[in-house]
Symmetry: C2
Subunit: 455 residues, 2 copies
């Protein structure tokens, strides 16, 4: 047998069992109580890479380990691709909302339910199996391959950039391939034209030096929770536009072709409403839901806390109020610039008698793909071969901050080709990955390596 | 010795020791783990009343007990006064902000620091000692007295109204006297002309059916935390006025004399700022701080909760957001009417795609005193005799909902004469009661019973 596709079909049962094993490791990077599990997941990835026929190694970092796999047998003239993925997962909480336990994978109705099934263990695993299929059946790959699997993507990849910088020569590649995103619809594959960036803050409002009786003091002094609510509420105008001066100034609009492509996509608002429980009615009034998600920045409250939040009525005038507020950014915007704009804005709108403090928690730059060129064409052909249809161009509302960093450090272009489906609950309870996408995903990647060899 | 004042002076040391004993009982009514303590506090009050020379009894209720003390030896022609107080206290949390433990009274710098020292154990205790001083030295009181001490004031007195209704005949009185409030300033006694009412709600905003990834979904759908912030922020206009239509319509303004009295009071904004940590800069722009606290309604956020509130950046678009919002009401307003107005307002401002739910947690009507008549005069003379100065008229921003109920059920007028000082931290850490007020308070009440006999 020298057909990787036939091999993948034949070995499918084992592939499912191995994925099950991978998903059972609760490699939650945000919680130090899982440090042993992230380590275990790193070792598991290394062993898989070795089993597939690559040279693989686990590197310690000040945080969670990085796994590096290499196969360089395609020769100097063949391109080198770097496959990036992450073996860490989001915290599974709230646990009571899961229909089956997050770290006990359960296949029902054509879906593999487990934390990490889509984001990103399942998709990283597709690559490992496609590499294994090539190497086992043909003894070689059509391209040189470097696999870079990190364990800190869900906590902002704090140690990846230093790692990449240190191993820049070893990681040098022509193309970075990342499968950590979603297709536009079942059966309709897609290639990403952009990722949004992120600027994540806490805003603290502080008023009186301690909590006060809301009867005795109410009306005399400014309530920091009321005041913060007003500041947050005023961050949008009646048309859903963000009111921070200059916020939209730096945006570089997508190309006409990209916008036309978006408009040609069939967006099913009813299906969307069924999935998330509400109609897509937020955001800027003058843009469609897809445009708002893919091409427009946002300002979302991620958390609010003030005063008494337990049961019943406590008549307290809170001393403090806190909001976690994050902005998704689009090309042209940077976290640094948005921070400056927000800081200036808060200084201007802070009412007398209240201090507003801004704390920056996290940031990442937006990314836009190079849509022409042989790599994009190669990927389109690979997807068409396994899905029977040309991919559409889609944006991604989320952020993969490392994409920009990798491109800059390695001088490579990035191809983002993901196999999750919309509504996969990637950061929520009941995360899932479709079995159909699991199987076609492996086939696609088998084709992709072939196609990239000629690109 | 037949001079109650001399007796009180002589017995002062014992009085302090007994108060210390009372304050050591952690009679937190809000927490069922303290049920034994509230019971112990009720028994302690009964024993004190008995020791003072009254007939006293503890009554069970579905919640915490009611203590009833009686002395009816003044004869049919003498007036009957009902002294109301409460032996329960607010929860002491946050404990780490107390300089000395809340239930280990500590006298420093002329202040008794302990939970309940001012609200209301200390002030209830003043009455018991004044009664004891009369009965011990003279063998009688100049008026008939009923003492009603409840253990649920801090949780909204759910069982007091049924109790009073059931024992209406036994509780019949000409005047209700309550010491559960503050003086205007050290050395400057005051009588209350009004109490604000309360209407306390939770507002819940619900959006998507579960928490979503703020990258993948941000911009496409309405964020309930942003939307709720906007609703809350818009409850006030730029001048600090509440924007709910009709909210101010039913207010009955205070008398000209009352307003002039308020304007004549010296309000020290710097001292206030030192005490609470911020300048009195909130509320309606066209009113002074004292007017805002005493004669104007408020809308204060008491609690906010949404999304992720732990450490660091979680990119969640929350499914829900909650605000605890309470209104202080002034005469003319009722909790029922404000609820209707708020409900209508929320229905009108709720954005498309978001459900706003209103839950009423607690309500109480405002109260205004009858400022003319012999009772007020009697109280003024009593205060002048012990403090050497005529009392001023003050309002109270807080609520004692039972005042309105008692007046209606018993057909009596109420006299509110309190001895706490501004900044006593009545619902906050480091609650205190001035030793000077403790001593003069007992003297004042000794005078008050005499004065009321002739009223």
């Amino acid at each position: 047998m020298n057909d990787p596709l036939a091999f993948a079909a034949e070995q499918r049962g084992r592939f499912y069992r191995e994925l099950d094993e991978f998903l059972r490791i609760p490699s939650v990077s945000a919680k130090s109580e899982h440090n042993r599990d992230t380590r275990r997941a790193a070792d598991w990835v290394r062993d898989q890479l070795t089993g597939a026929g690559l040279k693989a190694e686990v590197f310690d970092t000040p945080g969670h380990p990085v796994v590096l796999g290499e196969w360089r047998g395609a020769g100097r003239d063949a391109p080198t691709i770097l496959i990036y993925g992450h073996y860490d997962v989001q915290p599974p909480e709230p646990l009571e909302l899961w229909d089956s336990p997050p770290f006990e994978p359960d296949i029902r109705d054509g879906r593999i339910y487990a934390r990490g099934s889509a984001d990103d263990k399942g998709q990283l695993f597709l690559h490992i199996k496609a590499l294994e299929a090539h190497l086992t059946t043909r003894g070689r790959l059509p391209v040189n391959v470097v696999v870079l699997a990190e364990g800190e993507e869900e906590v902002g990849s704090p140690n990846l950039v230093p790692f990449v910088r240190e191993h820049r020569d070893r990681l040098a590649a022509d193309t970075v391939v990342i499968s950590d995103s979603a297709m536009f619809a079942p059966g309709l594959p897609s290639l990403l034209f952009s990722l949004r960036g992120l600027a994540y803050f806490e805003i603290h409002a502080s008023g009186p030096s301690s909590d006060l009786h809301s009867g005795a003091y109410g009306g005399a002094i400014l309530n920091p929770a009321n005041a913060l609510a007003r500041v947050i509420g005023d961050l949008h105008d009646d048309n859903g536009r963000i009111t921070i001066p200059g916020f939209y100034d730096d945006i570089i609009e997508p190309s006409r072709e990209t916008l036309e492509g978006i408009r040609a996509l069939r967006f099913d608002a009813d299906e969307y409403a069924r999935e998330v429980g509400v109609t897509p009615s937020g955001g800027e009034r003058d843009y469609s839901a897809l445009e708002r998600m893919w091409t427009r920045p946002t300002c979302d409250v991620n958390g609010l806390l003030s005063g008494y939040t337990g049961e019943g009525a406590k008549t307290v005038l809170p001393a403090r109020a806190m909001a976690k507020v994050s902005f998704r950014l689009v090309p042209g915007q940077t976290p640094e610039r948005v921070r400056e704009q927000l800081e200036r804005h808060l200084a201007r709108v802070a009412p007398a008698g209240m201090e507003l403090t801004l704390i920056e928690l996290h940031g990442g730059r937006p990314w836009r793909a190079s849509l022409d060129g042989p790599v994009f064409e190669a990927a389109s052909r690979a997807l068409e071969r396994s899905f029977g249809t040309r991919p559409v161009l889609t944006g991604e509302g989320g952020s993969i901050p490392i994409v920009v960093e990798l491109e800059e450090m390695l001088g490579a272009n990035t191809l983002l080709v993901g196999f999750a489906l919309p509504g996969a609950n990637m950061h929520a309870p009941n995360e899932w990955f479709a079995t159909d996408c699991f199987e076609r995903g492996i086939d696609t990647l088998i084709h992709l390596y072939d196609e990239l060899a000629g690109s």
